[in-house]
Structure formats: C-alpha cells, structure tokens
C-alpha cells in the first residue's frame, strides 16, 4: 500500500476498533467525530484495496464499443463465485427465468447509463457485466462484491427471487458505478449516500424501462420481492420513507424521511440502509417537482455529482446536497431545476451551503 499523504491517524492502532464503534455512537461530538473519521478511513482503505484489485483485473478486458458484454453464472445453490456460466452476450434466452431476468436487468442498466448519460458500462470503459444467480440456499439477499452482482433466490417465506425487481438489479450495478467514481465509504452518512445513489439509479432504471414519468412511477425499491404472506409493498419507499412494510416478522420499515428522524446506530454499517431514506426522499421531491422523465433532469444532476470528481469519499449529506445545487446551476442555469433541487433538500432538513 502507498501512503495517504496528509492523513493523520486519529486512534489507529491504539484504540481497538470495537471501542471506536462505541465512541462513534457517543453523544459528545468531540468523542464521536474522531472515532467516526477513523472508522471511515478504515472502511475507505478496505474499499480502495478492493478497487485497485478490480481495476487491475478488468482493464485488459474492457471493450469500449457501446454494447454490453453480459455473462450470467449459476452458483447452483453453492457459494463459490462466479459459478457456472449459463448465458453469455448474445445467447438466446434459456428456460431459467432467473437467468433471463438477470440478463435483461444487466442490459436495462447498461442502456440507461449509455443512453441517458453517455456512460459506457459501470466503469465508463465497457466493463463486462457479470452476475451470479441461485447463490446459496434460501438466501435472502443480493449484493455487489466489488466485481460482480450476486443474487439469492429468497426463502419463499419472506423474500422471493431477488432478480424479480429490476430496480434491485440496477441498485447492485449502481454500486459498481459508485465504486468506480466517487467511491463513497460504506459507513455512516457517506455510506447512506452510497446506498441512496443505488436506490436512485435503481428506480431510474425501472422508470426508464417502463417509460414512466416521475408522476407515474411508484418510487418503490424492491416491489414484488416480498412473499405474499408479508404485510408490505416493497423494501423501501422513496416517496414515503418508513411506509414500505409493517409486518409481524419483518417489523416496520425504519427509514426516516427527514433529518429530524435521522437514526444513529452502529449496526448496518452505521445505518446505511436506514438513513438513505433522507437523500432518497430529497431526490423524489426534486424529481416530482420537475415532472417528466426523472432521469433527464434530476437524474442528470445526481449523475453529474456522482461522477464529477468533487464528491469526496467521506462526503456527508450536506456536502452532497451542496454539490447537487452547484451541478443543477452549472447544467441548467438559474431555472426551475436549481429551485427544485434546493427545495428538495430544504424539505428533508439537509442544509446546502
């Protein structure tokens, strides 16, 4: 590893990380801030190591011709990645609907980034898109492992197949885009921004595929993923965070919509899937205020910030919000876009500087 010029470790190697975890949750900002910085730095360095590996491994395979290069693998209920190749680019659909959905979802995601933002794949340079389906048994999750997407089948009791909602596929690939661009640390507020960006682009991929306007869209993440016995419509709602489900087994959707209800927790990497409700809602407010296709203006502003080079890895909500206001002005001038973006953040209680 090379050195990180200028960075001074706060508690590194002296205070054990579990103590940092406790401190990071402390009420006193003097205690919490340095601990959080250290934890974030730790997270950042792990991500960097992974990123370096990924870039090194894929640079040779890049084909920048504006066409996707998709491969879907089948883990056959095991956990070895990537598993057995079952469908390559241009191959005809097979009998496995899960494989076909993953293939189509990869294509839809590629299309949105190319057509709307002129981005050639997740790295901007034709990176091959790989997905593995049927991971493990009854596996209630989907994730991005730094190199590819991985989808479980769900247990059928709470969750169904994770390839069902196209926004889930888009969400995972968007983690790849974030990794190759702003590379937001997956912890605390930068982690919640990382999560929110995946929800935003996941939702936009669904809307783009369905040709929906902001007013027509459901703004749900994971609609169709919950098993019939679960009381809920989806996993998250960008329109009304905190209302996606309320169930005996799952509990209630914990997402806040505004800063007044920001959740401080050490779990879930510092609440990355919880507090993402706040920037999610700000995007929804801006997009619906503007109307029309959300990927064209609100989405463009968010994309400009994600890829513009000014968004720091440890950005807080205020930093991100401020950059969206700047990006809206740079791209669209002093018009309704600037107004919609500013008001969106104001309504969720995030300051812009």
């Amino acid at each position: 590893m090379t050195t990180h010029g200028g960075f001074e470790p706060v508690f590194c190697t002296i205070v054990p990380p579990h103590v940092l975890d406790r401190l990071a949750q402390a009420e006193d900002p003097a205690l919490a801030r340095p601990a959080r910085r250290t934890l974030q730095r730790d997270a950042f360095e792990r991500t960097q190591r992974r990123l370096t590996t990924v870039i090194g491994a894929t640079a040779a395979a890049a084909v920048a011709d504006g066409r996707p290069q998709r491969t879907v693998h089948d883990a056959r209920h095991g956990t070895d990645l990537p598993g057995h190749k079952v469908r390559g680019e241009g191959d005809k659909p097979g009998k496995d609907a899960t494989v076909n959905r993953a293939y189509a979802g990869l294509g839809a995601t590629f299309e949105l980034f190319l057509q709307a933002y002129r981005r050639d794949s997740i790295d901007g340079n034709g990176l091959p898109l790989n997905a593995t389906v049927h991971y493990d048994r009854d596996y209630n999750n989907a994730f991005w492992n730094g190199e590819q997407m991985v989808f479980g089948d769900g247990d059928g009791e709470i969750f169904l197949d994770f390839t069902i909602p196209i926004d889930v596929i888009g969400h995972e690939l968007a983690h790849g885009v974030t990794q190759y661009t702003a590379n937001l640390t997956y912890f605390g507020q930068p982690g919640a921004l990382n999560e929110s960006l995946s929800d935003v682009f996941g939702a936009l991929i669904k809307q783009y595929t369905l040709g929906q306007t902001a007013a027509e869209a459901d703004w749900l993440i994971g609609a169709g993923l919950l098993a019939p016995r679960v009381t809920g419509t989806a996993l998250r709602s960008m329109k009304e965070p905190g209302t996606a489900y309320d169930d005996d087994v799952l509990g209630k959707d914990p997402q806040p919509a505004t800063m007044d209800d920001f959740v401080r927790t050490g779990r879930d990497n510092g609440g990355v899937h919880i507090n993402s409700g706040i920037p999610n809602h700000a995007f929804h407010l801006a997009a619906t205020a503007l109307g029309g296709h959300a990927w064209e203006r609100a989405g463009q502003v968010w994309y400009d910030v994600l890829t513009g080079g000014e968004l720091r890895q440890d950005a807080m909500f205020t930093d991100f919000a401020t950059l969206t206001v700047k990006a809206a002005r740079e791209r669209f001038g002093d018009g309704e876009e600037l107004d919609a973006v500013s008001k969106g953040w104001e309504q969720v209680g995030v300051r812009t500087l």
């Binding site: 579990h18 956990t79 994730f143 492992n145 730094g146 912890f187 879930d268 990497n269």
Partner: protein, 88 residues
C-alpha cells in the same frame, strides 16, 4: 453452550437475531465443534463488508466475534444458517 447469531445489513437492512442453547441437546457436541471452529475464524472487530452484504455477530458463551458475506468460512456459514433456522 449458548450460541447467538445477529445478522445486520443486507439489501433490505433488516436485522435478525436467534440463539441456541445446547444444554441437554443430543447433538450438543456437534454444535460445540461447529461453534468453536466458527469463532476461531472470526474477527474481533466488525469487518467493513461489501455493499449490501450481510454482517454477522457470533456470540458463544459471552465471547463475540464478527464476520461478513461473502467471506465466511464453511463452518461460519453452516453455524449461521443453523442458528437462524433452528434457534429462537
């Protein structure tokens, strides 16, 4: 032996917790062997996982270790899935 598993994170961000008390169980020795191997391969602090990956906290008789998807040992994976399935 008291074996507790707490799972956090994941795409849904929904937490799950379950525990198994092996006292009086006919398969106690099997649980003990599995739990000891799983804990031995654990970390003393939570690793920062991959985006949307599950994070796990394993506590065996008061000692807590951490691990995260997709980098689990076979024993950790087996223990976690058994406790979450059979535990209360």
């Amino acid at each position: 032996m008291r074996i507790q598993v707490r799972r956090t994170g994941g795409f849904a961000g929904i937490e799950r917790h379950a525990e198994v008390d092996t006292s009086g169980r006919s398969d106690a020795s099997e649980w003990h062997a599995l739990a000891e191997q799983a804990v031995a391969a654990g970390r003393s602090t939570p690793p920062v996982g991959v985006p949307d990956g599950f994070s796990y906290q394993l506590t065996v008789d008061g000692r807590t270790v951490y691990c995260a998807d997709p980098r689990l040992t076979d024993e950790q994976r087996k223990l976690i899935s058994r406790v979450l399935k059979e535990g209360a």
